[in-house]
């Protein structure tokens, strides 16, 4: 989600850097005060930061999307070390990510700190605080914090992009549209981040109540906190009923007022607010001189019928795919072929049975219930397939009460009881057939994969590798290699890099292309990065570049280059001016990212942090960065070892337990970082650390 280097224009880069710098400065000054009262707090914050960084590399499987997600981590960090410290940590983590992965960037660092650091931390922290004051359990409060914090990060990102990419008058609408575009994938991810945050906090409180209390997560009626003298702790208490009612009322009022304010602001800028479809798409169509588009599922022209058949076909296909895959996995040949895969042996119930008699009994029970479930699904699927095909084939056939025409009539009555709408499917039977077949194919694929995933009646998962941990280590190794560039002082490299990134934003396409070419050539020839590694590292920027070209091509009016005339819909017009603008922006992004890669892959992070210290960046921030860098790798390795240990004791586990495993893994990382922070602080004191300025 990080906004890539070069996307935001110079004025917005500066505009976002200002609040970010203020927030980080406030965070640092509060950290400094707290460090005076409790000198071990610095190491605690840095190690918690390293742990949260490692946690953010933990992929959480999203069965709905069939992919994995990474927790944003700032809501959790804000709860653990407080929102201001979390802003500082987020700033450091974003800087390290920009230099290690070229995720985010230096000119977009401010905007990213505002969204991920400020919005994520404070919304997460406020949700947790409110929920705890209302008496919510640690898990529920953590869940709300994780979910709202995650959504806040994306809301802020969407509006930052809206302001940066769209003209001022359309920025709110643009941002809103982008947020709505994020929502379908982000909403489940936000829920998962909530489950993760709540789960980690609950596991932490269960595994080490002393640490939970030390971090101020304990209940008000628990044993008093403060394991060390003078430590300042925030301490959550259940509020009285009156306080709770007042807080909830206030929260609702704030929500209503802000929502009303938002809508009012939108109405002010555009006259009225009629929704995304009518507001944005319609206007785009009007700009092309066409009529506004009709809804894609247009019940007036029979689309409901079309989609009923499509939906039926998906359901039928899914049932068939489920049953066939299950039968295939049970057959000896299927099991043999599936044994290399992750779910085949479980589908057959094979491996668990030999472990012990109890396990064998459980396994046979599961098999029996699995057979019943499959039988019912098979029956339902078969009936649906027959009905759907019959419905398509049947217009000319009549087989008594169950002929195709009859079926269509039933469907029409369900879809439109008043009978006022057009009854035939749009585009005729050919389109209906295409939709049905597409639905069947999709359904079979979905059912097949779901059957593998849900073998034994419950979703089973392998715990995936830590995403990005390889990149961190490989990038670090590369940075420590001796090349011609290593001889150049990091201060010089940093200054030149910052100037070039700034010029890149304002100079135009020619400069960006030249910068891109030079950076890539130096990376390949001097730094000796393997080209495949370079392509992989540039891939996110390439995707962003393509998106920018498409987005600008579609939204900026001008001479059409591509014109796709869709019947009854607004035409798809890609303008030459839009494409040119898109290529301009893509060149800036790619050049910026390649320069960041060059900086990150040719200079070790401690050298860059040392250079920042020379440029008078606050010493506390640099100390935190150095400690984070030192322990980042340790925690990534620890997370990897814990994950391996979990896998060795059960390569695949039900989804619920896998999620629990992730939560305890995250909690264990926090516990280890807490314990270690105390020892690191002791080690620093023993070598005279308290005398250090």
């Amino acid at each position: 989600m990080h906004i890539a280097e070069g996307i935001l224009p110079a004025e917005w880069a500066v505009a976002w850097a200002a609040p970010a710098a203020v927030a980080v400065a406030v965070g640092l000054s509060r950290l400094k005060k707290r460090t005076v009262a409790d000198p071990s707090f610095k190491s605690l914050v840095a190690l918690m930061g390293a742990a949260v960084f490692a946690i953010s590399l933990m992929p959480i499987p999203v069965p709905v999307a069939g992919s994995v997600s990474h927790p944003a981590g700032t809501p959790l960090a804000a709860i653990v070390v407080g929102p201001w410290a979390s802003v500082v940590l987020a700033g450091l983590a974003l800087l390290i990510q920009a230099l290690f992965f070229a995720h985010g960037g230096l000119t977009t660092l401010g905007a990213n700190i505002v969204s991920e650091g400020i919005a994520g931390s404070f919304v997460g922290f406020a949700s947790f605080w409110l929920a705890r004051r209302c008496g919510a359990s640690l898990f529920r409060a953590g869940f709300l914090a994780g979910m709202f914090g995650d959504l806040a990060v994306y809301l802020a990102t969407a509006f930052e992009l809206g302001l940066g990419l769209f003209p001022w008058s359309g920025s709110l609408r643009g941002g809103g549209a982008l947020f709505l575009a994020f929502l379908p994938t982000q909403l489940p991810l936000a829920v998962l981040e909530g489950v993760f945050t709540g789960g980690v906090l609950r596991s932490l409180a269960e595994l080490r109540p002393d640490i939970a209390r030390g971090l101020g997560l304990g209940r008000g009626d628990a044993v008093p906190p403060a394991p060390r003298d003078g430590r300042i702790r925030h301490h959550w208490r259940r509020g009285s009923r009156g306080v709770r009612v007042a807080i909830v009322g206030l929260a609702v009022l704030v929500a209503v007022v802000s929502l009303g304010g938002l809508l009012w602001a939108i109405a002010l800028t555009t006259g009225d607010w009629v929704g995304i479809d009518a507001g944005i798409m319609e206007r785009v169509a009007e700009e092309r001189g066409r009529a506004a588009w009709t809804p894609f599922i247009n019940t007036d022209v029979g689309d409901l019928l079309l989609f009923m058949f499509f939906g039926g076909a998906v359901a039928a296909g899914a049932a068939v795919g489920w049953v066939v895959q299950g039968m295939r996995a049970r057959s000896p040949s299927g099991r043999a072929s599936a044994s290399g895969g992750h779910a085949g042996s479980h589908a057959g119930g094979g491996v668990g049975g030999s472990v012990g008699s109890g396990a064998a009994r459980d396994d046979s029970t599961a098999r029996a219930s699995g057979r019943w479930r499959r039988g019912i699904w098979g029956l339902v699927g078969g009936v649906l397939v027959v009905l759907v095909l019959w419905g398509w084939l049947a217009p000319g056939l009549s087989l008594g009460p169950l002929d195709g025409a009859h079926l269509r009539t039933v469907a029409r009555v369900i879809a439109d009881p008043s009978g006022e709408q057009v009854l035939s499917a749009r585009g005729g039977d050919a389109v209906l057939f295409a939709f049905t077949v597409a639905g069947l194919v999709l359904g079979v694929a979905a059912g097949w994969s779901a059957s593998k995933r849900f073998a034994g009646g419950r979703p089973r998962l392998r715990l995936p590798r830590l995403h990005g941990s390889h990149d961190v280590r490989a990038g670090d190794r590369q940075a420590w290699k001796t090349t011609v560039l290593s001889a150049i002082d990091a201060r010089v490299k940093l200054a030149v890099g910052a100037v070039l990134l700034g010029v890149n934003l304002v100079a135009g396409q020619g400069f960006s292309l030249l910068l891109l070419a030079v950076c890539l050539a130096v990376l390949l020839a001097v730094v000796r990065v393997r080209w495949i590694a370079l392509v992989l590292r540039m891939l996110p920027a390439l995707v962003v570049g393509v998106m920018l070209v498409v987005l600008r091509g579609l939204t900026i009016p001008g001479q059409p280059v591509i014109l796709i005339d869709l019947p009854r819909l607004a035409p798809v017009v890609v303008s030459s001016e839009g494409l040119a603008a898109g290529f301009d922006l893509a060149a800036v992004v790619l050049a910026g990212v390649s320069l960041l890669l060059l900086l990150g892959l040719s200079t070790p992070l401690p050298a860059l942090l040392g250079a920042l210290r020379w440029y008078r960046v606050p010493g506390l921030l640099i100390d935190l960065g150095m400690l984070m860098y030192r322990y980042l790798f340790l925690f990534v390795e620890e997370a990897q070892r814990m994950r391996q240990a979990q896998r060795l004791r059960g390569p695949e586990v039900p989804w619920r337990r896998a999620m629990g495993g992730f939560n305890s893994l995250g909690a264990n990382l926090l516990i280890r970082s807490y314990d270690r922070s105390q020892r690191v602080y002791d080690a620093q004191r023993l070598r005279g650390g308290e005398r250090r300025p």
Binding site: W480, L627, L634, R676, V680, A683, L686, R687, G688, G689
Partner: protein, 301 residues
């Protein structure tokens, strides 16, 4: 040797005194009770005992990471306490069991320099100490490497280099040889022995009963927070009951000697055992042939 942090070939080791020292953890668990011990300047002392016997607590009290609930701990004439923490830290070096706890700087050079910098030494002196410590501990080639790229054994050596660079007069080590391979362990112990011979007081907590007789002069056995036995090695090991009470065993060579020879003397190292065997053979009290050459003897018969 002139480059060493002590400025000469000899080291003026510290004397450590525990006077009626007791310690109770906040949860109410008593870890040490009535410890009365003096570790003299230049001693190589091993602190041994079962897990939970109070070894680590004793070492932490010594450096001021914990403060005694009763009695007092002093290094030379300085009583260990809140006010004297930095003074004691400059006199006593502490090596953590896990080097990952101790190495918190990003690179080897930065970590070794951390302590000398805090002592307020000039840049040249810090560099000199870093170089000496790194060479002494065999990590000079690693100076520019990031800590996370080191092996566990290398991290142990870097941690020791960081402690030595401060020029301590006493060295406190918490299980320094754990997780080291035999060669690394021997190298570490030889280094400690060499420093001890120059006068450095070495206090080391360990479980390794085979290693201790090779290097240490004295031993402190802790059992349930009490001192079960204290004194020169031969005296403490001569009384096997002390060891059993502390969940320890005899060194293997002593155990082997007990099996084969019904002698009152109990060698603790291979070298001592060899000398004792030769003496016994020369006195005609032991016929080694049936033990060492059973086949040849059988064939001759």
């Amino acid at each position: 040797m002139m480059n060493s942090p002590w400025g000469g070939s000899s080291i003026d080791g510290s004397t450590v005194t525990f006077a009626h020292t007791g310690f109770v953890y906040p949860g109410g668990v008593r870890a040490l009770d009535g410890v009365d011990i003096t570790i003299r300047s230049g001693d190589f002392t091993a602190v041994m005992g079962a897990n939970g016997g109070g070894k680590s607590t004793m070492l932490k009290l010594l450096v001021g990471l914990l403060h005694p609930s009763e009695g007092r701990v002093s290094v030379d004439d300085v009583e260990v306490g809140h006010d004297t923490f930095n003074q004691v830290a400059a006199m006593v070096g502490y090596l953590f069991q896990d080097p990952n706890d101790q190495l918190f700087c990003p690179t080897v050079a930065a970590d070794i320099a951390y302590g000398p910098e805090n002592l307020g030494l000039g840049g040249a002196e810090v560099e000199r100490r870093v170089e000496w410590s790194a060479k002494t501990c065999g990590v000079f080639e690693l100076l520019d490497r990031p800590i996370h790229a080191l092996s566990y054994g290398q991290k142990k050596r870097v941690a020791l280099a960081g402690v030595l660079a401060m020029g301590p007069r006493a060295l406190v080590l918490d299980e320094p040889s754990s997780s080291l391979d035999p060669m690394a362990e021997a190298a570490l112990m030889r280094l400690l022995k060499g420093l001890n011979e120059r006068g450095l007081t070495v206090i080391m907590a360990t479980h390794d009963v085979d290693l201790i007789p090779l290097y240490a002069h004295r031993i402190i056995l802790l059992r349930g927070g009490h001192v079960a036995a204290e004194g020169p090695l031969a005296e403490v090991f001569a009384e096997g009951t002390h060891l059993e009470g502390c969940d320890l065993r005899l060194p293997r060579i002593a155990y082997l000697f007990d099996i084969f020879c019904d002698e009152s003397t109990r060698p603790l190292t291979v070298g001592q055992a060899r000398k004792e065997l030769v003496r016994m053979v020369e006195q005609g009290r032991l016929d080694l042939v049936p033990i060492l050459l059973p086949k040849e003897r059988g064939g001759a018969a």
